[in-house]
Symmetry: D2
Subunit: 331 residues, 4 copies
């Protein structure tokens, strides 16, 4: 496929899908936005009208089947991911699927097995912290060996706010899942046990929602990771990670490089949401996917990474309910 | 006693005791060093010779009994604290006792009860983080109410190195005990449950020693605190605390204000040990103790604070052995 | 031109030109690399061979004349800029010309007048700090009015090293010129007077080279800006700016967000050169130029900005020689 | 004098004098407050009443003559310093004199010559930045030679506000004088030329007052230092210094170690005035003076340092008026 631009179709054109469509059209080299699909056909048509020559589908499976589409960026709700990803595998098309890969471990495993049966890696999962320049620099430092063996990780993941109806389970599956992937990636090991604890809730917490949550991961080597997750911190979007290794520790996410001094205060801004904090990471993630797809390979987080995260989150939900550590068993 | 300087005797003149003696003699207003005691009488005499008119005792109880001594600074090993503190209570003398108050909860309770029976508060325990300007500023911010209710705390306590023979239990009793006090103080609540987890050890760890350790405290309100403790981090002395409240979070200990850029690196220095990091805190702690003693009151961490820390650490040792959460029960 | 990708030719394929060619080919949306030109035809051919369907020219004027080239990115040495830019104007092609626009004020003025005579803005000059996210955020804060009127600016511009033969004059024309543009842009005013002072040189300074230099700009409003420039700081590439306004001051460039603690030191990395520090800025600069060119407009620093910088630098050279303030007079 | 506490008299009990009296009484080891003097005898008596056994004088010369006073801390207005310091020299008493030593170079020289004629060093001048832990750490780094030769210094000195009637000349003599001393001390060289430039004033500037000011010092070695001074920045008290040496540069004063994240903002506090920022420095300055006086020596900034600063400031006033560089000539 070298030479021609990758023709990308986007499934799901809500806030995040529209953002990805704009990215493919205006910021990603060697890619062309050629199709969008959404059950809300009007919304899809309005989006398509902003670009030249973009086809509109109400049914995502029609987009996947369209021979003009080389690769598919799935930004639909998680519960329709399995069907759409399986259709892409069947059609032999590259996929960048926003996390979670699917809603539970069993369905994620079906996706992994279908991809294996097809004999070719096609799926990248949207664990975008791996593409953030700061996280990538931290990973490179750890992998260089200069800092010695990784011993402990502490993550902070605070959303400023979430939509009404965001449940305790969604905090695990939609927020904590990022740190599940970060820890598997940084340690290069699987998580073998997870505990999700319920602290006294913030007064911003939704009715009956456990917010914040504190999670503890035990890694294969016995190493531990702790994570604080807020759905509604009220303060802004804060994502930090401190990795402690034998000869050094690395922290990312302390704050931007723009340092302001105003009346009796020094400091900087905390963004409202992930799009401001991780703008470059999303660009780099999609560029990496486009480049790899044009070469016919998958280089980012794989379907297996998506499956492993699903298994850990499923155990996390069990721990959230019981308060006890739950073993994690991967196929 | 107003008007006259407080006449202080120091028991135990190892590295830390010599440091405290020098502090009383040269940096603390309205105090005079008048006596030192140590079983190693030669070491005590050598120290005393550096100052004018300082008496030397081999037996600490003789120092406590000396009518020329108004107040006693105990820097001896923990296992002799109980006897020495009880002697001070019997003699009606003010005491600043380095932590731990005593070696276990039962003996700490005996000290608390003896002080109560005497009808007068005399004991301050050496939880010096309360006197560090950064910790004190954090506490003042939380107490002001501006940041709302405190929800989560994460502590980091990394020693660069410890003497040979430093055991897993000493990590709990001598290092983690500081964060036990920090959490009780910041939350203004007791700890009701403690879990001490054993991660994969650093390769610097002593034979058979669980190093690092990760501890989880459950507070009365249900709030949680997590702590990482290293006896041998190899990196330097790092003590940090991040307190997350409803309208803001505060971090102390990120690094000093001297910012250096050298070949391809920016940054600052990490001290080797607690004396450099907390020099001002020790001065302020001893000055506060001298000022309060001259007014006939106790204002710092009390004998009860020492007792409560002993109870939590004892439960922590049980959790370290079992890996399970242990309830904390205070008298 | 909307719809089709902008077909870009790159003139000059040294280190920086090769970097720009790679950028256009692999990181910039809606642009295609179609031609390269360099007197060293072998070097140009080797570069072209890395991409599909890229024409090679020894003579830059042939590249400019090629009807397949929509827009030209000039990365040749400054002394050939005038001829090449004038040829682009004559051909009605958009240009992104690396700074300096030309070597002196008189030639820059000829370019400005030729562009005016052509009746259409075609030229963007490579003052890339305007596209750095941190500088852009600082400019946006100042322009918002929230911080009040800008009063003082202090710039630091330290190169780690420069090639042999880098003269005192090149420090003004190639390094300080960036801060000339930064101050004109931040204040939204012209510079009316410049003083370039010669401090005691660093021992790394080239034979007879004034390194570092300290420059003082007087702005139209009377405001002042000071700048430190090193050609050979030996430390790394450091570019910072502190803008002091009536209700706040803003600093950019203090260091990256990756915070490391190693043995007895905390900190981060300082890059070796501008490419690491400003990677995102170069991408954003070229993307902005491609997007504007496709819409038929110029949005970045204009030919007049290039001319004004030339006039200031010329006065700066005179001040460097005399040590006295020199008036800046713009046509 | 070893053994006995130093008996200190304080002349001038305005805000700063009362602060110093409280410091001597409550925070400085081996010193006793024994006397205060102030033309406002009622104010002096009220202050004295807070301490035991403190004598009150209306006439400072009576305090200096009192045999019970070993050493004198002068906190009176600058225009009476000469007479008071000369009286201390005549009485053979140690003096800590707040800056400026005297109001002009000629009177400072008379003080230096009187001290020399007396054959014994008695005077320390209140240049307290030398005692700030951050400045002291920077000086130690530079003196260690690890960073190589010092090349450039940039100072920022911003007061939040000043009393009505604070003139352009006072900005030089009372504010900039600190940076005069900092540069002499850091470089270990005299200033040979000073230029004080008048930027466009802040709208907070007093009527007819040049605020801010930008000063340029030329050192003996040819090295340069630039300084920004605000009398009324409106933002808080900010004092920073960046020293650029051949193998590293050091910045102090970027902000405290308490890092707060609140709604959409991270940062810390900027104090209102010098007392909060430099509390430890004042303690350390006075302790160092007390310790040295008890040993019969002077270790802090000397009368000659005070004289040299007066000469530089006098030249600075001339430059402020003319806008031109003025040579600095020391006796």
């Amino acid at each position: 496929m070298t030479g021609a631009a990758l023709r990308v179709g986007v499934i799901g054109v809500g806030r995040m899908g529209a953002d990805h469509a704009q990215r493919v059209a205006h910021r990603i080299a060697n890619a062309t936005l050629v199709a969008v699909a959404d059950p809300d056909r009007v919304r899809a048509a309005e989006l398509a009208a902003q670009y030249d020559d973009v086809r509109v589908f109400a049914d995502p499976l029609d987009l996947i089947a369209d021979p003009r589409v080389d690769a598919v960026l799935i930004v639909s709700p998680g519960f329709v991911h399995e069907e759409q990803v399986l259709a892409c595998i069947a059609a032999g098309k590259f996929v960048l699927c926003e996390k979670p890969l699917t809603m539970d471990a069993a369905s994620s495993l079906r996706v992994v097995e279908a991809e294996r049966a097809g004999g070719r890696a096609l799926i990248q999962v949207g664990f975008m912290r791996r593409f953030d320049p700061e996280y990538a620099a931290m990973k490179a430092m750890l992998d260089s060996g200069d800092l010695g063996r990784l011993l402990l990780v502490h993550n902070i993941h605070r959303n400023k706010d979430v939509p009404a109806g965001f449940t305790s389970e969604m905090i695990v599956r939609d927020s904590l899942v990022h740190e599940v992937d970060v820890c598997r990636w940084l340690f290069g090991e699987e998580i073998t046990e997870i505990t999700v604890l319920s602290p006294a809730p913030t007064s911003y917490a939704g009715e009956g929602v456990v917010d914040p949550q504190v999670a503890i991961f035990r890694m294969e080597s016995g190493a531990l990771a702790t994570t604080e997750v807020f759905a509604k911190s009220g303060l802004g979007y804060e994502v930090r990670c401190e990795a402690s290794a034998e000869r050094g520790n690395v922290t990312v996410g302390l704050g931007s490089g723009v340092f302001v001094r105003a009346a009796n205060a020094w400091g900087g801004a905390i963004p409202d949401d992930f799009r401001a904090r991780f703008a470059t990471a999303y660009d780099d993630e999609v560029q990496a996917w486009v480049d790899a797809s044009r070469r016919g390979v998958v280089v980012g987080p794989s379907a297996y990474d998506g499956y492993a995260a699903s298994v850990v989150c499923e155990a996390g939900l069990e721990s959230l309910a019981s308060g006890s550590p739950i073993k994690v068993v991967l196929s």
